[in-house]
């Protein structure tokens, strides 16, 4: 065996000497197949050049070959000299495929195969070549990813290639990324002017490179890098603020969703419904139930849950109104106690009938993932949907209250019950409808919440105090107040969280509201006129 190899090497050496002199003359042998063949016979030093030439042919198979070489899976059948790619190299017999056609050649004893040897230096070269190959694919998204992978990985050889690539690249984003990759290399080499290119980037690798540059011996470079870092920090701060705002709005819209139903039952009807949180929970469990009904179609189930959750919660609301609340009219404190009892019963009912443990609700594909605005800021889609949903629900409620017959009657009964009844409005029916509407909206909140928190028996409890706070903060009986209060409380909470921690932030918001109510006992937007006296 070793003699064989020795002989082969000697032959190779001779070939090399010949090949090197003939290389330029043999332009026709630059066909991919020929290059591949030469690769097997070439020495380590020449392999890189050959591989590069291979990648430059633009052949679609080049990527597969390069990967095979990198993984040591390109081999030659000793008898025939045919090139194969080893698909599976476990055991004695290896599964192989033809390198040129990709045809499955079955298994062959590993003794009959001669693998191409690679060392680490070559492997690194191949990585570089591969990323350059990726820079030439048609899909700009893939090109961008490839360019991003090059950040901080550029060496001298790659730098020249990148410069060539920059001449032909037509996508702006990819160009920027490539310029950055190149600039990082130049900064590493001590180029002061390249620092200016990097100053706008938010990429962590860029920051790392600049941080290195700050510690460099060249004072001019260090100063420039420091300046660039400062401008990046400024930009990052803005992005972080945008992110906090987004989280704040998202939390706020959840609060709005949870509280808006309460704003109707508490604010408009004056009924304290402590079971409101459990109506939210029912909505969330409806989503879970729908997903059990339509296994494998979480998206469809979720969309169907919107009307279903509304209905379930609305029916539960009607049941509560008819069985308890109607007997406690004008006794808000007793209503509070009775509905609290109902909330305990509903919680325990879910624990006993379904499970005391949390249920998993699947997030459909079109709701998962995130939108990347830039390197430092990406927005999760499910929260974006919840924000949108909250706004839609709010707009819908506003329309119902302002533009429909029901809304008119509700407002009439709220403002003067006796007068409304004498005008022929059936006050009892309006009560039922209003309560059903408020409860149904709680169900909608549950459907939305099922996408961002755990669905369990305690789901409602976690939101009831917050919801009341939002309604009270916004001003009872004012839907706009609820919207603004919910969004601002959510944002304040998120603003406090980074330096106070989640729990402390929540405590501070609660204390803030308690203090605020001292100043303005009737909330941000108090009701005016006669309705306020009720």
């Amino acid at each position: 065996m070793s003699i064989h190899r020795l002989l082969a090497r000697m032959v190779l050496a001779v070939c090399l000497a010949l090949g090197a002199t003939l290389a330029n003359a043999q332009a026709q042998t630059n066909a991919p197949e020929a290059l591949l063949k030469r690769l097997v016979e070439a020495g380590q030093a020449e392999k890189t050049d050959l591989l590069k030439a291979l990648s430059e042919t633009g052949d679609e198979r080049a990527r597969g070959w390069l990967e095979a070489v990198r993984d040591g899976k390109l081999a030659m059948i000793e008898d025939t000299g045919a090139l194969v790619i080893v698909v599976n190299n476990r055991g004695r017999d290896w599964q192989i495929a033809d390198a040129l056609t990709g045809e499955d050649l079955g298994e062959m004893s590993r003794r009959d195969l001669q693998s191409l040897r690679v060392n680490n230096a070559l492997r690194a070269d191949i990585e570089g070549i591969l990323s350059v190959i990726d820079l030439t694919v048609a899909d700009p998204g893939q090109r961008l990813d490839a360019a991003r992978n090059l950040l901080g990985e550029v060496n001298e050889a790659l730098a020249t290639q990148l410069q060539a690539r920059l001449q032909v690249e037509d996508n702006g984003q990819v160009r920027d990324m490539l310029t950055n990759a190149l600039a990082i290399y130049q900064v590493e080499q001590g180029d002061v002017e390249a620092v200016a290119t990097l100053s706008g980037s938010l990429n962590p690798t860029v920051r790392a490179a600049l941080n290195n540059a700050v510690n460099s011996d060249d004072p001019a470079l260090a100063a420039a890098a420091e300046k660039a870092l400062a401008s990046i920090e400024q930009k990052l701060k803005l992005n972080r603020a945008a992110e906090t705002l987004y989280f704040g709005l998202s939390l706020g819209s959840v609060l709005v969703l949870a509280a808006i139903g309460l704003a109707i039952t508490f604010g408009v009807m004056g009924v304290i419904n402590m079971a409101h949180g459990e109506l939210i929970m029912l909505g969330a469990y409806t989503t879970w139930g729908m997903q059990q009904l339509f296994p494998g179609q979480p998206g469809l189930a979720l969309i169907l849950s919107i009307p279903a959750g509304f209905l379930v919660a609305a029916l539960a609301g009607i049941a509560i109104e008819r069985s308890v609340i109607q007997y406690l009219k004008g006794r808000p404190l007793e209503t509070l106690l009775a509905t609290f009892g109902i909330s305990l019963i509903l919680q325990q009912l879910v624990r006993t009938v379904i499970s005391p443990l949390n249920r998993t609700v699947v997030t459909p594909e079109w709701m998962s993932g995130s939108i990347m605005v830039n390197e430092a800021l990406s927005l999760t889609l499910n929260r974006l949907y919840v924000i949108g949903f909250a706004l839609v629900v709010f707009a819908g409620l506003m329309l119902i209250m302002r533009k429909t017959r029901l809304g008119l009657e509700v407002r009439a009964v709220t403002q003067n019950r006796a007068m409304a009844r004498s005008m022929g409005i059936k006050a009892t029916k309006v009560d039922i409808m209003t309560f059903a509407l408020g409860s149904g909206v709680a169900g909608l909140a549950g459907v939305a919440l099922s996408q961002i928190t755990n669905v369990g028996p305690n789901l409602g409890q976690n939101y009831i105090i917050d919801s009341f706070m939002v309604v009270v903060f916004g001003g009872v009986g004012n839907l706009w107040g609820t919207l603004i209060a919910g969004l601002s409380l959510g944002t304040i909470n998120q603003l406090l969280e980074p330096w106070a921690g989640a729990v402390l932030a929540k405590i501070m918001v609660l204390v803030l509201i308690i203090l605020f109510i001292q100043k303005r006992p009737r909330g941000l937007f108090p009701q005016k006129g006669r309705a306020a006296e009720g």
Binding site: L337, S343, L344, I345, V472, V503, L510, L515, Q518
Partner: protein, 377 residues
């Protein structure tokens, strides 16, 4: 001095107070007798476990009296009285913690175990002084009293009443619960304060100490009841009932409504604190769950079941509900929340005046029998 004496002694002339105190002391004597002098195997023997359980009920009864004082006579439905109860409990817990000394798991002479565990080097400032019983006992009154003073001052001054006040008291106890759950607060976080050894030098595990605590709780309940009756029958109490029924009118008559509310609220918070302080050595632990809004609202339902604005009704309600809770959670734990929830609904819808209301109705019926003209309340 003379006036204050008559003020405090007035309740003793009432038949209802005499009856209440008579029943209470009779119960204390009977339990003590059955515990000490009945042989262990006798069916009439009251075990030390039962004595402690009864002591716990009496703490709850005192707490219910405190809630009834503000809800029944001032019209303020506090959903945060658990916070005052827990603060009193924590003050007592801190004293008991310091009494452990170097007998803790880590054997540190000053720092409680959980602080050693958290790697704290020295006692936080607010733990200073709790090794002295007198200081701790003052704090039992002062801590809840101060919180009630500040909170009440802010709330009543800006005329927050009714449902709003209920909701912000609930937010208050919720915020405190979250705060006490944090380890950084220095109150043992999740686990709270526990592993107590002795109180005033008496071993907490001995039967004699348990009986002593039970009797102390009974006496505290009696004193609390008399103080509440004294307040209720005084001029202050009559003004506070006026505030309850027509706040604006009382204000227009020239009374400083917010002062009346503040005084009654603070007294009630202090009573709740005392109840908490007596509760902790008997159950052997205090943790943030006492701050939970559910507990506070449970207290309210004890009072509602017993009948508000009667004080003795609150005691009956607290004893009944907690006895039921012990029985239910023993036999079928799942059913307890159903039962409690149903209790909330049934009492408010069908029994708005509670058990005391039923008793009064019967008495009125007896009185009015010949007249047949029934007073509908």
């Amino acid at each position: 001095m003379a006036t204050s004496q008559t003020w405090l002694l007035r309740p003793f002339q009432e038949r209802s107070t005499q009856l209440f105190l008579g029943v209470l002391f009779a119960a204390l004597v009977v339990v003590t007798f059955l515990h000490l002098f009945m042989p262990e195997d006798s069916a009439l023997h009251v075990s030390a476990y039962t004595v402690t359980l009864l002591g716990k009920y009496l703490c709850y009864a005192l707490l219910a009296v405190a809630v009834d004082l503000v809800w029944g006579y001032l019209g303020i439905l506090s959903l945060g009285h658990g916070a005052f109860f827990a603060l009193g409990g924590y003050a007592m817990g801190m004293y008991l913690m310091r009494q452990i000394g170097d007998r803790g798991v880590y054997g540190d002479p000053v720092l409680p175990d959980f602080m050693v565990f958290l790697n704290w080097q020295e006692l936080p400032w607010y733990w200073q002084g709790f090794d002295m019983a007198w200081f701790a006992f003052i704090m039992v009154l002062l801590a809840p009293g101060l919180l009630a003073l500040v909170f009440g001052f802010l709330a009543f001054r800006s005329r927050v009443t009714g449902v709003y006040l209920s909701i912000i008291t609930q937010a208050l106890t919720f915020a405190l619960m979250l705060a006490f759950f944090r380890n950084e607060m220095g109150f043992g976080g999740n686990n709270g304060l526990t592993d107590f050894k002795d109180i005033l030098g008496f071993d907490l595990r001995s039967d004699a100490t348990r009986l002593g605590l039970f009797l102390a709780t009974g006496i505290a309940l009696a004193v609390g009841y008399v103080v509440c009756r004294a307040i209720v029958t005084s001029k202050l109490g009559r003004v506070s009932v006026a505030c309850r029924d027509a706040e604006a009118r009382t204000r227009f008559l020239g009374y400083r409504v917010e002062r009346v509310q503040l005084i009654v609220f603070v007294v009630s918070a202090m009573l709740a604190g005392v109840a908490g302080a007596l509760y902790v050595p008997q159950v052997g632990i205090i943790n943030p769950s006492e701050f939970s809004p559910l507990f506070s609202i449970e207290i309210v339902v004890w009072v509602a079941l017993g009948g508000r604005a009667t004080l003795y009704g609150a005691v009956i309600g607290a004893l009944l509900v907690n006895y039921a809770k012990t029985v239910f959670t023993g036999i079928m734990p799942d059913a307890w929340l159903f039962a409690l929830g149903a209790l909330f609904v049934l009492v408010t819808v069908f029994l708005p005046k509670g058990i005391a209301g039923l008793l009064q109705k019967r008495r009125q019926k007896d009185d009015d029998q010949p007249g047949a003209q029934e007073a509908t309340a």
